[in-house]
Amino acid sequence: MTAVQIIFLLVAAATLGAGLLVVTAHNLIHAALWLVVSLFGIAVLYVLLNAGFLAVAQVVIYIGAIAILVIFAIMLTRKVAADSGPQTNSNWGWGAALAAALFGALFWIFQGWPGINTALQPLSESQDTVVQLGQALLAPDEYLLVFEVASVLLLAALIGSIMIARVRKDS
């Protein structure tokens, strides 16, 4: 086993363990903090794959924005930060079955995918993944349309939130 494989196994175990604690933690804030650990583990996995940009973007967006937003939402919601109430509701069996089915389906798909068994080629020093990613996102024959559609979606969400939060002058 190489050092990278050992690190991968440790980080993957930590990510999964933190993910499990997100759903089992009694305190909602603790669940949110475990979510941060889990997201950070994903960022480390990106680093192991030489995807530095994705790793940093993961930290900036998921930890810096979304996790903070989740924590804020919990703190601003009355009384949910206290340790009380049962952990599950009556639908937990359905949820577990759905999760198991999803895991089985993904497992089955990846079993049939040839890429799962190919060894990764190390990147050469001259390859700048950031430049390639940027050009792929903005090239008309690659992902420009998807990129722009995603931007419009985010803009719509932004305008929607402003509309909801706006103070109407007449009322």
């Binding site: 050092a3 804030i29 603790h30 903090l33 941060v36 530095g52 940009f53 940093v56 973007a57 930290v59 900036v60 930890i63 810096g64 924005a65 996790a67 903070i68 924590i71 804020f72 703190m75 700048d128 993944t129 950031v130």
Partner: protein, 400 residues
Amino acid sequence: MDPINSIANWLEGLFTGWGLAPWLVNLILTGLGIVVLSTVALIVAIVCVWIERKVVARFQDRLGPNRLGPFGLVQPFADILKLLLKEDITPTGVDKIPYNISPIIALATVLILWGIIPLTPTVLGSDINVGVLFIVAMGAISTLGIIMAGWACNNKYALLGAFRMVAQMVSYEVPMVIALMIPVILASSMGIHQIVESQSVWYIFVVPLAALIFLISSQAELGRGPFDLAEAESEIVAGFHIEYSGMKFGMFYAGELLHAFTVGALFASLFLGGWSGPFVEQVPMLGVVYLFTKALFIYWVIMWIKYSLPRLRIDHMLSFNWKFLTPLALALLMVVALTHKLLSNTDPWVYVLSMLVANIAVGWIALSLARRRAIIERKKFEENRALARPAESAAAAPTS
């Protein structure tokens, strides 16, 4: 060859001579590098305590520490001894793990930034190709440390301080990221090392407005005055670190001071040419001297702003960011990108001068728009002002 790389090469030869595997040698050398770099950064933090106290004293017409040692130089060590000897108090009702982790996060997110700052042309921790975004990512994690500290303390003032600080940091991250994109456009790279190397003309002369926006938003990220509402003494006592004592408080304090110096080093690397200066090609270690001189100058500017300006109100702070700084940064980004695309093949002097003119034009337009807006706002305020005015008849009465 500079001494640091010589020592590293000598150690590498020594360890390989002992028969250690190459990956183990690499691991040991990396570990040593991390220890040395963070030790140097922490020593800088100790010196920063003395500089900060001396400079604030001068701004407030005092002498500052002057009893222990020449110019009070031993004072910071006495401070550290005092912090170490203090009783470590854990208040009741705290959330133990977040309470103890957050001071570590506060200091570690600052220390880790030194890993990507190139100290000389040849000495740098890690030349990652997303260096600029890495700075933002570490800022994001330090936000998390602050909210953990504020929440775990079981104290209302700490929570209020953390809320203010996080609202401020999340907001000012936006103009900061946009301002950081401008050197990236000019250097066509996100690595700090390439940005330093491509500054034949310091970027502060090419894009002064971007440098100013970066300085203002970093000041807010630091939580230093005029953006220090998170620790407004008259309102919320001390903000998010109110319940911390001893060395845990010391870590927040050292983290804050070191962060200010680190922002100076980042500013120097991004806009003031980093390690570049005369004779740096012959004697690479001079780069450290140049970098630290520039960083100290920016640190002094940050203190100058902090101790000269009064604290902002929270709504003013937020609307300054969202209604002025962010649109300005976006407009500047577009103008700089256009100018860069149109003029990148022309004579360097034409390029630099037109960039400078474009920056000044954008800044001037923004300021005149803000001024016009201010006049309108003031007029609105003056019309509706609830003033006690004498009634017309009453004023006329005594003369008759």
